[in-house]
Amino acid sequence: MNSVVASITYRAMLGRKRIWLLAALPLALIAIAVLLRLIGGGDENTAVRLMEKFAIGTILPLLGLIAGTGVISPEIEDGTIIHLLSKPIPRPSIALTKFAVAASLIVAFSAVPTFLAAYLLIGTEAGVAAGFAFGALFAGIAYAAVFLLVGVLTKHAVVVGVIYALVWEGAIGGYVPGARKLSIQQWGQTLADQVSSSPFLKADVALSFAAPAIVIVTVVAVLWAGQRLRGLSLTGDE
């Protein structure tokens, strides 16, 4: 971990208008929760559906994509990464720092708003708020690692990320039961289910699979990103 790398990365992610890219979706989530509350739709079933479909199903992967690729892809694209890489710092440590920044942003802009939205709707009822925040926290960290890796592996990180998050997890996961096992947001729901006692929430993936999967995917992705960064080729303008 390197504090200079972290501070430059935070400034790149949060500076001026960039922060709205991260803040827009969680604000929308909270606004929906407030609206539902105002029109009296704040029951437990609605809260669980909103968390499943929107908080974990949409916002979390999108923020994972924005933050995970955002901490490194633009710098590789415009060559600013040379400033960090041409220093006597082990590159895996740069990758680890970038991961930590991405993960912290996802926690702040996804796990925390997830808790707030659910709490605004139904308070602490059935542990829904705490459960989904818990799930979003760990799934968010895994997303940060995976999308950081995608950002290092390919110039088309956003396209690859969208295909994974929307097509694989969103569409295929909806129809092919097996595919659901290989879905970070399903693992997040499994974790949420452990904390929440709500009968409306039923996770498809067993904890015995989801918990080790999250840890392994996160660790492998960060290590792999570090190794790829060691061998990063810059071709210049020629």
Binding site: N2, S3, V4, V5, S7, I8, R11, A12, G15, R16, D78, G79, T80, I81, I82, H83, L84, L85, S86, K87, P88, I89, P90, R91, R230, G231, L232, S233, L234, T235, G236, D237, E238
Partner: protein
Amino acid sequence: MSVIELKQVSRWYGNVVAVNDVTMTIGPGVTGLLGPNGAGKSTLLHLMAGFLATSGGTATLDGKQIWRNHEIYRTIGLVPEREGVYGFLTGWQFVRSAARLHGLQDDAAERALELVEMTAAKDRRIETYSKGMRQRVKVAGALVHEPQVLLLDEPFNGMDPRQRLHLMDLVRKLGAAGRTILFSSHILEEVERVAQQIEVLVAGRHAASGDYREIRRRMTDRPHLFRVRSSDDRRLAAALIADASSGGVSLTAQGLEVRTEDFRRFTRLLPRLARDLNVHLWQVSPTDEDLESVFSYLSGRS
């Protein structure tokens, strides 16, 4: 004293060969890497800076492998060509971050900014800088740790004449102090003003190597083609063809076309002849003076 050594280095991208079997040693002093655009200069610099793996051959710094070795950056300072600087940082923040990444204190950053004369503008954001100022801030960032080796990719591009002279002076001083400095350029005048040693790269191949006098001689001692328009083309043509420096003279509707075998002699002969014959010269222009033709001639000979 540090030395970068390339041994039979090649680099290809798919079917395209960017650098072809280059062997060179870059030692203390200033070396200019000269070549037309697309000759593979940036590729070669990236190979030396650890941002590209060789497809064949070895690239070493003081005997140690460069690729996948972050320790080399204690010795190397790199100024890339692309404007890769964080626009949202001020000049000071940028150079200080470079110092901190090297584990150095603020005084190192202050020294480096002074060296490139950017102290006055250091608190402005880099995105407000001109191209030349960005270039200088990048140089400062590469110099914070007083590296033994400095690699600069087209460093004088986009600088105004005063900034250019200042940076040239700085590069010369660092070279005189025993640092190993390599910079790339496609402009011969730029290279010969700063570098003692010149390496010429043409189409990915090491076309020539030597001091600037040697390279200059090779570049000028070649057949030149001139177009001349005057008040009396025919008389001038007759006098020109009588001299040994002319390889051929033809009368065309646009004036004379003169091929000369001896550049220096011809350039002295022409004004003298015109004066003696009382012929007015309207236009004298070289028609093959573009760098590509100079370089292709040079690479064809060596």
